[in-house]
């Protein structure tokens, strides 16, 4: 809403928790052009082009998305903008839904761009107007840094402005010294960037969201983002310097604050970013000595750290001690009716990765395949009982890793598994690479026609835009054939026999092959005729439990299917696998028992 009121005209993003909702929300406005870009790098480039051409643009992504987009981000810092450009990086301390815990505040210093940080929803709203203003005034992209706990919290917002699109915004001005970064021109830009930082630091001194809240002077807390909220709670009487702009820092303001308090500390999540930059000003300050660098903060952690540093009286341990039993964990699972279940069961059983019920061998299973994975719902196939994934690094990594394993002379066959959205994001270039370099791996593309993990966003393969318009869909089989793959198979995700046959043939193939496993995400599957277990035929062998379907449960030694979860006709994977044909729709079982 803040960005909308600040006059954004172009918004781009690739979905990623906890940033996805930003573009989903902006896409609802008719007077904004909003797109799901194929990846964050492209999103950044489209946003930059729009800013060059005179439209305020907003580019949003999760923390690791900025790694993908870092090349054009650095370029944007070098050329500057024309109309304002704001980049939102939504970090994930605590790794709720990510592959790492990087602290993207370093990107602001690295790219020499200003960074703003909201500490609640109201500030996120207010910040956007400042962000676009700073971007235009200083000719720079602006980084807005949020975290999961800001992105996924709701607090009261007074949205008291209306949408203002700045009038008289100039369109693209032909200016090769500014926009064409040949070495001769790039050399001219660098001193301008250094000058820009000096001016920004002066601006930061009076920036309205750098605020001091005076309390008692014996303790002064410098903080920003959600850590400010936690710190207010833990130190209700202290003085606070809350930074809404965390790069470059307002040096004089910090010096003044430090001079007026007896002891100054920094409370921040992850790395000592503020702390080290303040120490570089020659100011004595502590923080990471007692606040962890790892994981998401909360008031309890700050309280514990503060008491160890002598800032608070010792708190009594609040954890339940007693003799609580070990509670079973509840990790997320592939859904009932998931189109990924069948192929992973096939990989798991062909690869002899788990011991199937009834197996006589006592030895732990010895995997016969290496399965390089990628990022999406299907990464959940790593967990038992499927145990069908060996690597997951970052978006699009699996195909390249698979080729590397083959070229390293691995004695085991290599299968790379990647989702449709991830393949379009960054799986195409490694596939081109594998063809060019004569790889022989098997690549499996799981095509469920959506970006499921982040909440079902469209992508180039679905033929629907972020704003719901019909566009031309990219056809995966044509795409991979065009790259030069000769062995391309398209298989129904719910046909176990066909899946097994195609994986076998690809593993035996002397050249690289691609299997496209096609089946709609179960969230969109109409439910009909849920399967049940014929208790007269079932001998509790447990084969159906090996697919890890959440609808199939074992209670008191009996296996049963939760008919509220089972999708029925659209799936039937358990029915295909049952060695005693004990799984069928309810009416068939009733008929047989008559």
């Amino acid at each position: 809403m803040g960005a909308y009121h600040a006059g954004v005209r172009v918004a781009t993003a690739y979905p990623g928790t906890p940033s996805t909702e930003i573009l989903e929300y902006l896409a609802r406005f008719d007077d904004i052009y909003a797109e799901w870009s194929t990846n964050e790098k492209v999103a950044m480039e489209v946003g930059l082009g729009a800013a060059y051409a005179g439209a305020r643009s907003l580019v949003s992504m999760k923390q690791v998305g900025l790694n993908v987009a870092s090349d054009p981000f650095m370029a944007a810092s070098t050329t500057g903008v024309n109309a304002g450009m704001v980049v939102i990086s939504a970090d994930d301390p605590g790794i709720h839904s990510s592959q790492n815990e990087q602290d993207n505040r370093h990107y602001a210093k690295f790219a020499k761009v200003p960074m703003l940080e909201p500490s609640d929803s109201q500030e996120a709203y207010e910040l956007m107007a400042y962000a676009f203003d700073i971007s235009e005034r200083f000719d720079t992209p602006v980084l807005v840094h949020t975290t999961t706990r800001i992105s996924h919290s709701k607090s009261v917002v007074k949205a008291d402005r209306s949408r203002i699109v700045p009038a008289g915004q100039q369109g693209f001005q032909h200016n090769i010294a500014k926009y064409v970064m040949l070495p001769v021109y790039a050399r001219l830009r660098h001193p301008l960037i250094e000058e820009r930082l000096v001016k920004l630091a002066a601006y930061a001194e009076a920036f309205p969201l750098n605020q001091i809240f005076w309390g008692e002077r014996h303790l002064g807390v410098v903080t920003s983002g959600v850590a400010y909220q936690y710190a207010r709670e833990v130190f209700p009487k202290a003085s606070f310097l809350k930074l809404g702009m965390t790069y470059p820092l307002p040096q004089n303001l910090i010096h003044d604050f430090a001079a007026q308090v007896d002891r100054m500390i920094v409370i921040e999540e992850l790395d000592p970013f503020l702390q080290e930059n303040i120490q570089a000003l020659g100011i004595k300050v502590t923080g990471k000595e007692f606040i962890p660098r790892v994981g998401e903060l909360n008031p309890n952690i700050i309280e514990t750290g503060a008491s160890s540093a002598g800032l608070l009286a010792k708190t009594s341990p609040r954890k339940i001690t007693g003799t609580a039993p070990e509670l079973p964990e509840r990790p997320p699972l592939l859904c009932a009716g998931c189109p990924h279940t069948g192929i992973f069961f096939v990989l798991s059983s062909l690869g002899q990765r788990v011991r199937l019920p009834g197996s006589k061998s006592k030895k732990p299973p010895e995997p016969k395949l290496i399965i390089t994975g990628d990022i999406g719902c299907y990464t959940l196939a790593t967990y038992p009982p499927l145990c069908a994934m060996d690597t997951c690094a970052c978006m699009g990594a699996g195909i390249g890793q698979g080729l590397g394993m083959e070229k390293a002379g691995s004695s085991k066959k290599v299968v790379a598994v990647i989702g449709d959205s991830t393949f379009l994001h960054s799986g195409i270039t490694p596939l081109v690479n594998a063809i060019y370099n004569e790889g022989k791996i098997t690549v499996i593309i799981l095509d469920n026609a959506t970006t499921a993990m982040t909440g079902h966003q469209d992508h180039p393969g679905t033929g629907v835009s972020a704003q719901g318009k019909k566009t031309r869909a990219v056809e995966l089989e044509q795409l991979v054939r065009g790259i030069g793959v000769r062995d391309v198979k398209v298989v129904d995700a719910f046909d176990i026999k066909a899946l097994r046959a195609s994986v076998r043939s690809s593993l035996d193939s002397p050249e690289l092959s691609v299997i496209i496993v096609r089946g709609a995400c179960s969230v969109y599957t109409p439910r009909s005729k849920p399967r049940v277990i014929d208790t007269e035929k079932c001998n509790n062998c447990g084969v159906c439990l090996m697919i890890g379907c959440p609808a199939i449960q074992s209670e008191k030694e009996r296996i049963c299917i939760d008919t509220a979860l089972c999708v029925g006709d659209a799936c039937t994977i358990c029915q295909q696998l049952c060695p005693r044909q004990a799984i069928a729709p309810q009416y068939k079982i009733m008929k047989e028992s008559k």
């Binding site: 709701k154 339940i320 079973p328 997320p332 959940l380 909440g455 959440p550």
Partner: protein, 198 residues
Amino acid sequence: MKKLDLLMTGVGGQGTILASDIVSEVALAAGYDVKKTDTMGMAQRGGSVISHVRIARQVWSPLIKEGDVDILVAFEKLEAARWGYYLRPGGMAIVNNLALPPLSVSLGNERYPSDEEIISILKQRTESIYFVNGTKRTRELGNIRALNIFMLGCVSNFVPFKVKIWKDCISQRLPSELRQANITTFNQGRKELRGVHI
């Protein structure tokens, strides 16, 4: 009321997040400051879900401190046990009488705790433990997906917000064809714990 910290827990798909959204809107309509946050990871896929709802004149942290929760609202028994340590001494636990065993339990790798064990965990914090038959009642009403609204009905007995505000907020959040059924479910939940005094 000085402050009210609610922790709502359940399993992905049970409607926990919508329930916490509605409580927040009710408290906001009643004139309080509210912050709420969800910790779900990839919970759309059957993992455990936790929503923190904080209500007071002024709220700072969106996360509740361990040992500060006034009312724990658990849509599933194992999740009640898992988050019981967040309760303040003497707080209240409202637990839906439903066991959803995780896959590791079905595979025989782990054991689901007994009711006695779950109660003994909660009793380390409080004696006010109320099991409610939300799944059974909503099934009887033919509206099993409204378990979240039923649980809100239970909660409404212990918070100082007018029934009309509850019903208005519930109606606003649901499509019109579902409104009447959900109001009925809310009333049923209210009845479930009527007469309980804390």
